[in-house]
Amino acid sequence: MADQAMAIRKAPLAGLRGGSHAAILTPAAPASRISLRAAKDAVPALSAALGVTLPLRPKTSASSGKRHALWLGPDEWLVIDEDGADLMAAAASSGALHSAVDVSHRNTAVIVSGPGAEVAINSGCPQDLSLGLFPVGACSRTVLGKAEIVLFRTSEDTFRLECWRSFSPFVFGLLSEGAEDAAH
């Protein structure tokens, strides 16, 4: 009998390292993610079920351990669990009317860290990332060059940059150039 072939899942940016001494680029570990849509009246039940309070103000996020809820729009959130927990089941257990789409493998993320992280990202992103306007915990959907991204500031000099996996080689390349510039 023939040996059974097993497919091995390959992370889009597996093995890549990049950046400069000013801005280090590290592919983020796999995580589970949902794109969550819900009206305001469903927010309390969903927050309780997910264990993280869905933020209602623009550009804000809420975190509980390794789970993060990012405000993307008035009725839209990106929920990320870095431990890979089943977010779909958690949302479904809320009993509240909502739409959740598992985008764990649609997205991948790059961690951009270092004193030049802002400059590296701003090489392709038009948002003002100064701490006054984009403080720790701030998040936003925006663009990096031709790619749509979701930015999430996890510390003063660290960003989690989410992008669609098919755009990730472009995003990583553009960030590498930006990180080089940030070192000069």
């Binding site: 948002q127 925006t142 749509e148």
Partner: protein, 114 residues
């Protein structure tokens, strides 16, 4: 870089995050199956294309994803105001005027013609 104030994000963002979505405040006829071809044409195809202030729909497609409305000067590309979808047309007299910009543009046209 042109900055557009998104009434849902409550801040100015780069135009790169936005898409134009055509004229605003166009009411879809409620009796659309009964209207004449001419009436349908007027509703569906005919637009004023004004030189000056236009009310448009815009979408913050690479931001919050929301459609909203804007009053924009088609000559200067200046955004006079933006407001949430569903709100009535705002009173633009309460907004700053753009005559200085228009005069500059007209002068530029005259200069080019000479």
């Amino acid at each position: 870089m042109l900055l557009i104030y998104c009434p849902y994000c409550e801040e100015e963002r780069s135009e790169l995050e936005f898409r134009n979505a055509g004229d605003a405040h166009i009411a879809r006829p409620t009796n659309i199956a009964e209207i004449t071809d001419e009436e349908f044409e007027a509703y569906f195809f005919l637009r004023d294309n004004p030189k000056g202030v236009i009310f448009e729909r815009w979408r913050h497609i690479h931001g919050c994803g929301r459609f909203f409305n804007a009053a924009r000067d088609t000559v200067s590309d200046r955004f006079l105001t933006t407001y949430q979808a569903g709100e009535p047309k705002p009173d633009l007299n309460a907004q700053p005027k753009t005559s200085a910009t228009l005069e500059t543009y007209d002068e530029a046209l005259e200069g080019a013609a000479q």
